[in-house]
């Protein structure tokens, strides 16, 4: 614990109808912190991808559960946590599957749902995935004024 932060938490039904509601919330939070228009667009996509994953898990398991989303607003960065308590997935396998399209790759190899985690990683400065009980994705985006951590672009895992 170094700096104080404000924390906002919300719970949403694990249904796709609510992905747009989360986008409105992240826009509001990011706007309040002073993120640029482009950064807010990036945050909207990244956070939507995370909750879409959570909603899909719930759907396949026929679970009308909830997804918990936490926003930690620091002076220099925003941390967004998305947690669902469905079954964990095989993280190593997921990591093998992510990546951009490369020229010459047969189109048949492209997966319809294959770009979610890749986009989160591309649009956020730092992504951590905790896969112990359900799945928790923690995504960080730094405010541009503060260059510290800008190159901290990585996916790390805690198993």
């Amino acid at each position: 614990m170094t700096k104080p932060f404000d924390f906002v938490e919300m719970k949403l039904p694990a249904k796709s109808e609510y992905v747009g509601v989360l986008r409105l919330t992240i826009s509001g939070v990011a706007n309040r912190m002073g993120f640029s228009y482009e950064e807010i667009e990036d945050l909207k996509v990244a956070v939507s991808e995370a909750i879409t994953n959570a909603v899909k898990h719930a759907y396949f398991e026929d679970d009308q559960g909830e997804v918990t989303i936490g926003f930690a607003l620091y002076e220099d960065k925003l941390e967004v946590m998305v947690a669902d308590y469905g079954d964990s997935f095989d993280l190593e396998k997921v990591k093998e599957d992510i990546g951009p399209y490369e020229q010459g790759m047969p189109i048949d190899n492209l997966k319809e749902g294959g770009f979610g985690l890749f986009l989160i990683d591309a649009l956020m400065d730092k992504v951590e995935i905790n896969n112990n009980h359900g799945v928790i994705v923690v995504m960080t985006k730094y405010l541009q004024e503060n260059e510290v951590g800008q190159n901290d672009d990585q996916i790390s895992t805690t198993q």
Binding site: V19, R23, V45, S48, T52, K56, P100, Y101, E112, L119
Partner: protein, 109 residues
């Protein structure tokens, strides 16, 4: 937070005009519509994204399955009038190499 879908013929071309947001909630209806149009042999579909102000990977998924369907029955589609933030996703994922994309509006891509 909805997607409005409209389609009409302009000569040989079928125009699919979209307005709103493409996400996990709206992607299934778009997929059904697009694949339906592309299943017609030799169909030429123009997907107008001018009024789409938000899209995520669920939208990319729809267009990937569109591509697969189009290849099967020898039809084709072109994405036109993309907003900058929407085009960006095709660019980041490299999908702009496989999709036909025209007239990006707003800003120098």
């Amino acid at each position: 937070m909805n997607l409005h879908i409209e389609d009409f013929k302009e000569g040989q071309v079928t125009v699919l005009k979209l307005a709103g947001e493409i996400d996990a909630y709206t992607a299934p209806q778009l997929k059904e519509k697009l694949l339906g149009l592309l299943r017609e042999e030799n169909a030429d579909v123009q997907v107008d994204l001018e009024k789409v102000n938000y899209m995520d990977s669920t939208g990319l998924g729809v267009f990937i399955s569109g591509l697969k369907t189009a290849n099967e029955v020898n039809s084709s589609f072109t994405l036109v009038n993309l907003q900058e933030n929407v085009y960006r996703l095709f660019n980041i994922t490299g999908l702009n190499d496989v999709m036909k994309i025209e007239n990006t509006i707003r800003g120098g891509m």
